[in-house]
Amino acid sequence: MSQTLPATTDAPALHIPVLEIHGLAVQYRTIADTIDAVRDVSLTINRGERVAIVGESGSGKSTTAHAIVQLLASQASIVRGSIRFNGTDLVGAARNTVRAVRGRRIGLVPQDPTVSLNPVKRIGTQVAEVLIIHGLADRKTAETAAVEALRRAGLPEPELRAAQYPHELSGGMRQRVLIAIAIIGGPDLIIADEPTSALDVTVQRQILDHLDELAAETGMSVLLITHDLGIAADRADRIVVMSEGVVVEQGTPAEVLSRPSHPYTRALIAAAPSLNAAGDVDRELAPLAEDIRARVFGGAPGDPFTVRDRPAAATGFDDHAPDVLVLNNLVKDFPGPRGAGRNVNRAVADVSFSVPRGQTFALVGESGSGKTTTARLALRLDDATSGQVLFDGRDITTARGRELRELRRRIQLVHQNPYASLNPRLTISQIITDPLIAHGLGSGAERRARAAELVDVVALPATVLGRRPAELSGGQRQRVAIARALAVNPELLVLDEPVSALDVSIQAQILGLLASLQQSLGLSYLFISHDLAVVRQIAHRVGVMRLGELVEVGDVADVFRSPTHDYTRALLDAIPGRSTPLAIP
């Protein structure tokens, strides 16, 4: 693997290295053993160059970024290698040397802007602090400079913002504050660690565009850490692909995307939803047994989990089956802030759509668009202010008691975050049998047998049954969550951002599993997502929500090919990777 690659024609690199990492290895020590998070990383960033490290969680990309500024967790240490910044090796350098570099010479833009600012200090003070720490300004001039830095970071009304506290700003605005903190010292290098993964796609684009402009303006180098190959392809002069602590490939976006030499890179490209064409969920990724239908639905004599009163149409294989879920003119108001008069906050405004049986309806929108509230109304977890919810042709808007409990059996929910939605104290077997116990289905032995069956259906080994969630990976946990939802034989699954907390290759596997389950079981999905690229792969119909309103509804192919609403077009344009001028193999 070569140290420095020739700059491409459009790269402004001047071949003066700002950062040279050589043979870096970082180890995490736990009580039980040591983990090699980074095993061998060598890379160079030239002046004015934008380099992206791409990899999945656990690939060591974030650890590498934090090693550069020596901000590793306390149990981690650099065991080998050198990190030369402007000629000085930061590994083993005195604390003061490293501190003089941090904030002044290297700016760090952290991952999640919502938790990366001190909640009890004013924005202006936090930005100005960099100058005060490095003795670049006194208290008064620093405040003025902070307002200017906020302006340069693209924050509107910077004077007003400087006097505000972090919680008064949106996520995107907070990320601009963090960019202001990173640039105010006039650094040579900005390290941006997944700077936009917590933000909406349109905001993500604005932030990254702005970072690019700033870099071009000041000639600083950028090290962008991302899991999204699409973003890397759009933004970087050079892409470094990492896997399991090792750099497996590096080169220009054109080289890496069109002629990937390493199998891992090829897998990453294949899995990246933003780089893929429509409707090509790889069903091969989740091979399912032939008899899955009989196993999930039951039907053997005496099977306590068989749904007896289910209409024939409810299996979703009847083309003339009525829509499983119909929402008519749904409205949900939340009371406004107290003391602000009688105003209300309308979270869902006159939303109507239907979920065809056996198909997937995707609800797309950015945070605050009301998509999750709509799903909660459909699930009857919240009551609508007005409007109607029909399930299987029956009005369930005001269902209660027995009727509602029966409904809970027929509609199941899979949450966004598999790290938070599974009780950490229960074993996987207990988690999956929990809904069966809640509905009083089967005996103890029968429930355990069913858990074993379901684990197999979602392609997990039987050995996971006795384990607890903490021992499983994110993708495995989401499979458990799906198995739990399937336990009571539901007809409709509400999937609330089911893959957004997962790595791209895992995303592809879970989407594949969902698609094949739908095929074999005739399930209907209400799929909530902010990610259009994911929606394009899984959904049949799509509804775009904005500020509580459904601005566009249609077949996925139509909406993606010819969106009618401006907002839909803006969302589509913001998908990273679309500007890549390459034919993806």
């Binding site: 941090r102 904030g103 952290p110 938790v115 990366s116 001190n118 720490i133 919680h167």
Partner: protein, 322 residues
Amino acid sequence: MTRYITRRLAQAIGVLWAAYTVSFLVLYALPGDPAKLIAGPDATDITPAQLDALRAEFGLDKPLIVQYVDRLLGLMRGDLGQSLPTGRPVSDLIGEALPSTIQIAALGLLLAIIFGAGLAILATFSRNQALSRLLFSLPPLGVAIPGFWFALLLIQWFSFGIPLFPAVGNVGFASTVLPAITLALPTGATIAQLLSKSLTNTLREPYIDTVRAKGAGPARVHFRHALRNAALPALTVTGLIVGQLLSGTVVAETVFSRPGLGRVTATAVAQQDIPLVQGIVLFAAGVFVVTNLLVDLIYPLLDPRIVIGRPRVARVQAGVPA
């Protein structure tokens, strides 16, 4: 703001009323004849007629519900009633005992904060692993040591061993030191435990990494950023700490033979002096309520996310991004 304080005061009255009701029920359910208590242990030759006269004088012959309402009405007028054995007003007895108790409680709180917070800061600040582990293990020990035993040890060391402080009495500042240390031990340990845990968690927050990435040294990270955030959870239990101090005075004042609220409490309970015990319960409840109100008023000054009169929950429900 005014509306908020009005609402909180109404709640405070509710709490006091509940404290009165519960203490009334518990105390009157106790076995024993209050009239005999009034007459005193030496009055062996008292006649039933004289006991009846005493009952009538203190209103003990009336039905329980009437006594309950009578005393409640008295409370509303600020009358806590009379002590049974001495016949003196309860408010006088509490008022006389209070100054001496406030002295040791205030000094105890001060010592507890200085040493508790100091230990927590030192434990999280220290780069020496062994030292920090030792410091982290001290608070549970401090909570576990029995107060009366620790008080006796202090007397053994600093009154008889090295005669620095008097073993008994309430004359001068020197007499407050040992009782105050006795009070400070469990309280300081509680503060140290809470604050060190809270500081450890705060120092793992991503925004602390942001501060480090600015180039800040450990002192700035600790004192300018982590401490204020870490103090918030500790502030929540201030009411608990005040309660701990008050109950601690019972032991401290008894061991050091100091007059004070703790001693008065111990005596009142031993003599089944129902009005006095009830008066002390109400006083303690009042202190608790006032402390918590003050804490809630101070909170918004330390944490800008908290706005008085608007609970956080309402905003979250409204779907407004926090």
